[in-house]
């Protein structure tokens, strides 16, 4: 019995739709709550290739809603993209999976975007979403937006040249809204968003563009509310992402070190733009001989300095925990890595 037999039996997909899915390549940007769910569904569905991008590592507080990860992943602080890849390959060894442990910036996306059929939103911030929105339109690739918090969620499928884009809908980068780290979230909310994202993904990947949902879905699972909203009126000719004179403003790179306070996490991320790889083993040796306690794994180093925990990744990026002060974080970063 073919492993995809039940999907092929669904006649809107059928043999021909299954063949199409088996030729397709998607990028899932962020493998936290949303991205672990959509990547599992697409791997099980028999997509040809998945690139999964995440800058973070697994923590115990992720396990409540982030599929694919186990307690062991959290104890080892395994990078999310690598931990997800391990599990996805156990689920379907035929799918080509590339784990990318990095911040998804314009440089990275421009490098890997060739030959991509679909972009799926698994991120937790609108800066990255606006970047995806720009990339999607520059390269004419469908982009499936999703976000959620508490028991409230939303999903919308953006088809360049047809639907309004994320900038048309939101105009500008939203002021900080609610995040999972400030008001919490329950796992079914995630699943409701990803059920919609994955259904739209399977329509697009199987060649059923006409079946794609044209409305913006929003729901509250606690309040038992579900709305499906037409969005056409918001499509703007003047939009800088999808309008007549588009400039893709979120693809214009800065040239400095990027420092970001991670919302609600009491953590600052520091990231050199060119991302010269750092040599973790060499650094670990140096720090240990200086008397520091150093932990980690082949993908990252964890060090405690003056009560502050800092985690370094191979691309030179660091997470400075226990602070929201960028300058303080910069100082600790520089004191450790020069």
């Amino acid at each position: 019995m073919d492993r995809y037999s039940r999907q092929i039996l669904f006649k809107k997909i059928g043999e021909s739709g299954q063949k199409e899915i088996g030729k397709k390549h998607a990028i899932i940007l962020g493998v936290g709550a949303l991205g672990t769910h959509t990547s599992e569904t697409l791997a099980r569905a028999g997509i040809r290739k998945l690139q999964i991008i995440d800058r973070d590592y697994v923590e115990m507080s992720n396990l409540q809603r982030q599929h694919l990860f186990t307690e062991e992943d959290a104890i080892k602080k395994w990078p999310k993209a690598e931990a997800a890849k391990n599990r996805l390959q156990q689920i379907n060894s035929d799918v080509e999976i590339e784990a990318i442990v990095a911040q998804a910036d314009e440089v990275l996306l421009e490098r890997i975007i060739e030959d991509v059929d679909l972009l799926i939103d698994g991120t937790d911030n609108f800066e990255t979403r606006f970047l995806m929105n720009d990339i999607a339109h520059k390269y004419d690739i469908p982009y499936i937006f999703g976000s959620c918090v508490g028991t409230f969620g939303m999903a919308f499928t953006i088809i360049p040249g047809e639907t309004p884009c994320l900038q048309c809908l939101l105009k500008k980068l939203p002021l900080q809204g609610q995040t999972c780290d400030t008001v919490g979230i329950i796992a079914p909310t995630v699943q409701m968003v990803t059920a919609h994202q994955s259904a739209e993904a399977l329509k697009i990947l199987s060649g059923n563009r006409k079946a794609v949902r044209k409305t913006f879905v929003s729901f509250d699972l606690w309040e038992n509310e579900y709305v499906s909203l037409k969005a056409d009126a918001l499509k703007s000719k003047d939009c800088l992402t999808c309008g007549e004179d588009c400039t893709f403003p979120f693809l214009q790179a800065d040239s400095n070190m990027k420092v970001a306070v991670l919302c609600g996490r009491d953590t600052v991320q520091i990231r050199p733009v060119d991302g010269v790889p750092i040599l973790l083993e060499q650094l670990a040796d140096r720090w240990r001989s200086a008397g520091f306690e150093v932990g980690g794994n082949p993908f990252l180093l964890s060090i405690v300095k003056e009560g502050t925990r800092v985690v370094f990744f191979k691309d030179g990026r660091a997470l400075v925990h226990g602070t929201k002060n960028p300058d303080e974080a910069r100082k600790i970063y520089h004191s450790l890595i020069g």
Binding site: S147, G150, F152, L170, L175, G177, T179, I185, V227
Partner: protein
């Protein structure tokens, strides 16, 4: 009278899932200003507004009995 459906943090700020207000004749932009000054909803910058299950631009005029939904973008994922 217009029914205004509130989502996410707006429910808490209003202390209710819906509001009943007569805002017919106003544009969506005027609605925003009105709600910001006359209710506890706070700033509505960036909040998406739909009328009768369809997102509306700032210029759209609200009719009597229109059902309005206020959808705040949330960033979690």
């Amino acid at each position: 009278m217009n029914k205004i459906l509130l989502f996410a943090q707006l429910k808490e700020q209003a202390g209710s899932n819906t509001l009943a207000l007569d805002v017919s004749g106003k544009t969506v932009k005027e609605l925003r200003d009105y709600l910001e000054s006359e209710t506890d909803l706070g700033s509505l910058t960036g909040i998406m507004i739909a009328i009768n299950e369809e997102f509306a631009t700032d210029e759209t005029i609200i009719n009597a009995e229109d059902v309005i939904a206020l959808i705040p973008p949330v960033s979690g994922g």
